[in-house]
Every structure is written in structure tokens, then in C-alpha cells.
């Protein structure tokens, strides 16, 4: 156990299907569209979101890998950070005091992945941030949005504006580019992690070439007034099916992408989450803007020395899914648990169960561990991440 408090920054009582509906759940501007598409709505991080549509989780997953899936990710927090002095570098420097990333060096029209760290070196949230010329646009997890906005408002010299009047949708899959280009031809020229402005029937869209599935695709911020119309225009494209949170989770899991509150939380450091790549040389020891973010001493030492545990992939033998919370052991009988599965489920494209856990980095790939499921220990092998080969448009 670690001393740092484990804060998963979940909205109260709303993380999982079946939890109390008594909390007032928020709805995105696509709620009615989801119902008309056969969406099964569940509480998720304070929002009422579709977990699946008529096609079902497996078909939605496979369709996204084969063609294109449309996801409502309007529950995620969009936040703009403006410099008070009009100089974007001021906002970049301010953000670097919270995020161990190269914000200063991010060119206009480009996006990066980053982390908010806490003073123990744990992860408060993960996020995307983009340089939009006169401000930075951040996209944070729904359950953490309130906490993150308060955190950002503690910065001096910036104005923090939560974006309340726009929805967010993701179009993911190998045919996403062709489908979107039919509506907005200019998007075809975008590269992975570009973020640009486009006009669609008079509405200003903010489109990035990025996602959370391991596939090529786009994340699209749309003004509320045009949100449903734009989503319907995408759904009219022959390649596009609506996809719910169920397949979103299995797609990201296969792609080896960590989920906040599960694979990482306030008690897990960037190195442990295998996210050290998001911290560039310039912010590490010896770099010209080294440190200067919460928990820097621990985070930077661990980047040099290596963590005692790190996020690894697991392939269970057989077909039984090994889910979050399942204990892992070194042997078929006896012993203390080595760790618990952080996230796990059925990988439809892999054709079997897949999982992730924080394990000793020295254990070689292929090492056999045992997962205790319903009182029986099932063999699982340590496997490389990701489980599928991503196809980003670099």
C-alpha cells in the first residue's frame, strides 16, 4: 500500500452501470439521437451515456476496427486556458507548472497528451492539450473535470473557461478519414495530433486527428446547435455505425491505452503507468525546464531509476475474461497476491480476454502468472502492449 490517498476523482455514485440513479445525471446534446438509435443508456461519471447500441458491443468493436464508429464523448471536459497578458507563452509556462510536458514547444495547430500530477507524484488526471493560437484547449476526463478546473484556476496569469456550449464526438476507424472528408474535404490533409478549425454549414468545428481506440480517427468539438445535425450527417455515411461506451472500453484496452481511475489514479506515478514517454527531455533532470511540476522529485527520480511496478499486458489462457479487481499470484496455489487487475475484458479483435495490471518490470514477457477467478486460479501470461497494432495517421 502507498501512503498517498487514492483519489479516483469519480463523480459520486455514478461510475458503473447499475449504480444509484438518484443523482441527477447530465445528458449530452445527443441523448435523443442515442435513444432513436437504440442506445442503452447507463450512468457514467455523472452522465447518462449509451453503453451500447442495437449492434451490440462485439459488433460495434469489430465495426470500428473494420470501418468507422461514431462515439459521443460529450461527457468529457473541454476547457480553454487563455493568457491574461495576451502572450500564449505565459499560459504555456503556467500549464507547465501543473503538467510535466513540453507545452512551450507545442506549435499552433498541434495537440499533445499529458498528465496532471499531484505532490506525491501520482496522476490526478490525463488530458489532451492543443495550441489554438491565442489559447490552449484542454480535454479532460468527465469524472475529473470539476477537480481539474479548480486546479487550473489556481494558476496565475491565465483565464480558465470551461466550454459549456459545445459537444464532443469521436469518429474512429480505418474509414473515418474517408467518411469525414465527404463532409469536410480539408480534414483529409490532417496528420495524427493536428488540431484545426473547419466550417460545416456555418458551424465552427474544432477537429483533431486523434482518438482512444488505436485506430486512425478524429475528435470533433461541435457547437450545441449543430451537434445533432452533424452527428446525423456522419451516421448517414455508409461506413459509420454508432458505438457505445462498452466498445470504447474494449477498443482502448486492446490498444493498450490506460483509463484514468482504473489503470492509473492518484496513487500511480507516470512511470508506473508506463506514461513516461509523455514527459520529454526538456522537463527531465538535465533539461532546461526540468521539474517545476507537482511531485517532480519523485517523478523525475523514477524516470531515471525505473519504477518498482509498471503497467503490463496480460493474456489469460482460455476464454474467461479477467476483470478489474481480480487478484494475481505467482503460483497456482498459496502465496500473497502480486497485484490486482486494473482493467480487463474481452478483446473482440484479439479474439480472447485481455487485461492490464501494475507488475514488476523485471518479469520477462511470457511469464506465467495466475489470476484467481471464482476461487480457481487461471493461468495468464505477461504480454506486450498494445494487444493490437495501432494504425495512427502519422
Amino acid at each position: 500500500m502507498r501512503a498517498a490517498p487514492v483519489n479516483r476523482c469519480r463523480a459520486p455514485g455514478t461510475e458503473h452501470e447499475g449504480d444509484s440513479m438518484s443523482e441527477k445525471l447530465r445528458r449530452t446534446g445527443l441523448y435523443q439521437l442515442h435513444l432513436s438509435q437504440g442506445g442503452r443508456m447507463v450512468p457514467f461519471a455523472g452522465w447518462e451515456m449509451p453503453v451500447q447500441f442495437a449492434a451490440g458491443v462485439l459488433n460495434e468493436h469489430l465495426h470500428t476496427r473494420a470501418q468507422a464508429g461514431l462515439f459521443d464523448v460529450g461527457h468529457m471536459g473541454q476547457v480553454q486556458v487563455f493568457p491574461r497578458d495576451g502572450n500564449l507563452q505565459s499560459a504555456a509556462l503556467a500549464l507547465e507548472t501543473l503538467i510535466p510536458a513540453d507545452v512551450m514547444g507545442l506549435a499552433e495547430g498541434r495537440q499533445r497528451y499529458g498528465l496532471f500530477t499531484n505532490r506525491h507524484g501520482g496522476i490526478m488526471d490525463d488530458l489532451m492539450f492543443a495550441n489554438r493560437g491565442d489559447h490552449f484547449l484542454l480535454v479532460v476526463n468527465a469524472a475529473c473535470a470539476e477537480q481539474d478546473i479548480a486546479h487550473l484556476r489556481g494558476l496565475e496569469g491565465v483565464r480558465v473557461r470551461p466550454v459549456a456550449d459545445r459537444g464532443l464526438i469521436a469518429l474512429q476507424g480505418p474509414a473515418a478519414g474517408a467518411a469525414l472528408a465527404r463532409l469536410i474535404p480539408g480534414t483529409a490533409a490532417m496528420r495524427f495530433m493536428d488540431l484545426r478549425d473547419f466550417d460545416w454549414q456555418g458551424a465552427g468545428l474544432w477537429i483533431s486527428r486523434s482518438g482512444y481506440t488505436g485506430e486512425d480517427g478524429f475528435e470533433i468539438s461541435v457547437p450545441e446547435a449543430s451537434l445533432r445535425g452533424f452527428a446525423e450527417a456522419l451516421l448517414e455515411q455508409p461506413e459509420v455505425l454508432p458505438v457505445g461506451l462498452g466498445a470504447r472500453d474494449s477498443l482502448r484496452l486492446e490498444a493498450g491505452l490506460p483509463l484514468y481511475g482504473h489503470d492509473m489514479d492518484a496513487g500511480v506515478t507516470p512511470s508506473e503507468a508506463a506514461l513516461g514517454w509523455s514527459i520529454p527531455k526538456v522537463r527531465r533532470n538535465g533539461g532546461c525546464r526540468a521539474g517545476g511540476f507537482p511531485g517532480a522529485a519523485r517523478v523525475l527520480a523514477e524516470l531515471q531509476d525505473g519504477p518498482a511496478r509498471i503497467r503490463r499486458g496480460l493474456r489469460p489462457e482460455g476464454r474467461a475474461p479477467i476483470r478489474e479487481g481480480v487478484a494475481l499470484f505467482a503460483a497456482e496455489t498459496g502465496g500473497e497476491p502480486l497485484a490486482q487487475v486494473r482493467s480487463g475484458g474481452f478483446g473482440a479483435s484479439v479474439g480472447g480476454p485481455v487485461a492490464m495490471a501494475l507488475l514488476d518490470p523485471r518479469l520477462p514477457e511470457g511469464t506465467r502468472l495466475w489470476a484467481e477467478l471464482r476461487g480457481k486460479r487461471i493461468p495468464v501470461a505477461i504480454a506486450p502492449l498494445p494487444f493490437i497494432t495501432p494504425s495512427y495517421k502519422r
Partner: protein
Amino acid sequence: MLKYTEDHEWLRAEGDEIAVGITKHASEQLGDVVFIELPEAGREVVAGEEIVVIESVKAASDIVAPVAGVITAVNGDLADAPGDVNADPLAAWFFRIKPADAGAMDGFMDEAAYNELIG
């Protein structure tokens, strides 16, 4: 004729045995089934005993023995093709049970009563 339990299982009399599966309603609620663990044939079970594990993309569930008796057969094909439960739930039997009490089917719901239950 099919009978139904409050646990969303269907029961079909086959000679002096009962075949057991899950209803369409249950399969829709579960979502895509990806794993099924069946009991051993020959096992003696009591009513309400959890004897099948069924894992969907969303969660694990159990199927209980609807009556006391002996498991006479299990559908091994289903373990290899768990998606059959979603494709045709009424054809996807999990196990057959020989009830200890010959009138065991009598107390269960008919289709009309079950449809009322699920609304």
C-alpha cells in the same frame, strides 16, 4: 411447452428431463456472451444452486438450477460458441436436468405470465 423462472431461465420438458436456457430478455440484458462455464454431467444439484457461469462483454452472471435433481447432459458446443446464446436464446440450452420431483415444472410461469413479469 416452455415454462419460465423469475431468474429469466426457460425450461422445456424433454421426456423425464428438463432442458434449461436463458430467455431472449435475459440475453439482451446481458449483452454479447463471450464465455460459458458448464457443470459436470452427473452432478447432483439443489434448486437455486449456481451451476453455470456466463460472462458477457459487460459482466459475469450465474445460471441457477431451477429445480433439485441430477445434471444429465451439458451443451459443450455452447462453450465453444458462446455467441449462440445471443443469436438464438431459445435454441441455446445449457444443461438438462432430471428432477428429483416429477411435478417440478408445474409451479413455473407460462409465457403470458413471464411477459407480464418483464413488462
